[in-house]
Symmetry: C2
């Protein structure tokens, strides 16, 4: 008997990570459905079933996930800054529907939930760099608190209802289909502006360090999470290497062969100075590690942003 | 100039801990207001302003806290088991209003929020006993997740809006005015039934260990939290001593001089096997330690439960 390839539904399938994940799953032979409020690049989902709906609508979510084996939960409407400005709205639109989702997964027989958590925010200001999964989790933004609380509920639902899950605490992903629409994605934002000959805004002095990971490597980790049978539930997904924003800008300048004008803005309270993830657990348990050299990933990203300049400009307008 | 005694409002002031806290604050000369959905012992709040209202109603909460310096947040409608059975309801009635409360505290100029968290649930299954404040927080019930998420929001609000706070992670409190109405309070529940000659139900085999602390000692800690100026925000409040349920029943039997019939029921998923809090931080920073010997506290509790048998029976009906 042939092993059945699990059917996968991606909640938040119209976003940056979602599009990339759907495309890969489709290529790998899964039945794939993408669910979301909107998709900025409908052509990118060619061959993939797209279902428009609101994550805060339980009926829409139930209809979207019924009959699927694996639910990828990549929804998060409010980005870090916005979540801080509208905390109860964030709770209502992301946290509460996430608990409802778990109820639905249980009643609809979903085999596993794979949750995209945030390696850059759940730890807060790290005591150790690179930061392992066992480090204290003291988020300093509402976005991180929400991600962390959903993680805790996943653990609870496995305990109470045997709902299987994996959590990926993803560092700072970048790559094609990221268009910096909601203020996230430094590389996308900076590259778009650099290509347009516009100045880049940097909060703080540019010494902020992040663990930038190319999206294909993140997608590798999502795929590995589908059938992992190990004892762990939480995995950091990053590169283990920190890069500061000045270095990123220098790399962009090098690749597009131009000098970028930087506008310095005051540092933000929600920015932690350094975030770099320890990825030993994913390496040993998921047999996963990032394969894309930073400069190569940056090149592919710049290429995509350049090829799609017109479409992106329209969507950012 | 004399130091102003801070005005205190106790949210959840009609409950077990709330009544005890209000009475103490009143005796200590504070202006005190108790706010809650209902108070089972209105006479106990004589001389204290009682304001009936729903914690989930922002207008009621705003009106209740306006003009007060210290807000004690002791509200938590759903007890551990109930919270697990109605997770999104719990989030709507406790978690969301708690965030709204923090917004209100900021806009109304509250000087400090003192939050009653749960030392028995926020840690989950402890890796170390007694458990220090720095231990991992992996709750295995919705009640604990909710308490933990509120803790995280307090930290965030201090960072973003300079809202001052202290968190007390309280072990298993017992004493007068606890009537085991919502299934919490093993000592109250067991004593009431023992006094009535009824069997006691114990989930599991009675080996479950808890850190039972007499309510007056908890109230001491609340008072110490009013003007603590140290660097810490989170304090375990327990005795550091674990007692199993069999031993508790034996103590009750000894004090009321009767043999209790125990009905054994299956263990519950939400019960962690052992919970004992390390209290060194509160000892050194708050200069607080529990002063009541267990048997003495139990004696006072039995005395109160005996004196109020008729009233309690009516309220439990």
């Amino acid at each position: 008997m042939a092993t059945q390839i699990p059917a996968c539904v991606v909640l938040g399938g119209g976003g940056f990570m979602g599009i990339n994940l759907c495309r890969r799953l489709y290529r790998s032979g899964h039945r794939v459905r993408a669910f979301g409020r909107n998709c900025h690049f409908p052509d990118a989902l060619r061959g993939i079933e797209w279902r428009q709906g609101d994550f805060a609508d339980p009926d829409a979510v139930a209809a979207a996930i019924a009959g699927f084996d694996i639910v990828f939960h990549l929804v998060h409407g409010a980005m870090p800054l916005a979540a801080n400005l509208a905390m109860t709205t964030d709770v209502q639109r992301n946290f509460v529907p996430s608990i409802t989702l778990l109820d639905l997964c249980g009643s609809l027989g979903v085999k596993r939930v794979v949750f995209a958590s945030s390696g850059g925010t759940v730890y807060g200001i790290p005591q150790a760099l690179p930061t392992p999964e066992t480090a204290p989790t003291d988020p300093i933004c509402a976005y991180g608190i929400s991600k962390l609380a959903i993680e805790k509920y996943l653990t609870l639902y496995e305990r109470l209802y045997a709902l299987d899950f994996r959590i990926l605490r993803i560092a700072n992903p970048f790559g094609p289909f990221q268009i910096a629409l909601k203020g996230q994605g430094f590389i996308a934002a900076a590259t778009v502006r650099a290509l347009a000959g516009q100045p880049i805004e940097i909060w703080g002095d540019g010494s902020v360090v992040r663990d930038f990971i190319y999206i294909d490597d993140v997608v590798d980790a999502f795929e590995a999470a589908i059938d992992d049978q190990g004892p762990h539930r939480v995995f950091n997904i990053g590169t283990g290497i920190g890069r500061n924003l000045r270095d990123i800008v220098a790399s962009i300048e090098g690749q597009i062969e131009t000098v970028v004008d930087i506008r310095w803005a005051p540092g933000r309270d929600i920015d932690i100075p350094q975030s770099v993830l320890a990825i030993d657990r994913a390496a040993s348990e998921l047999r996963w590690s990032p394969r894309t050299a930073f400069e190569a990933g940056l090149g592919l990203t710049i290429e995509w942003l350049r090829d799609n300049r017109a479409a992106i400009a329209e969507r950012l307008r």
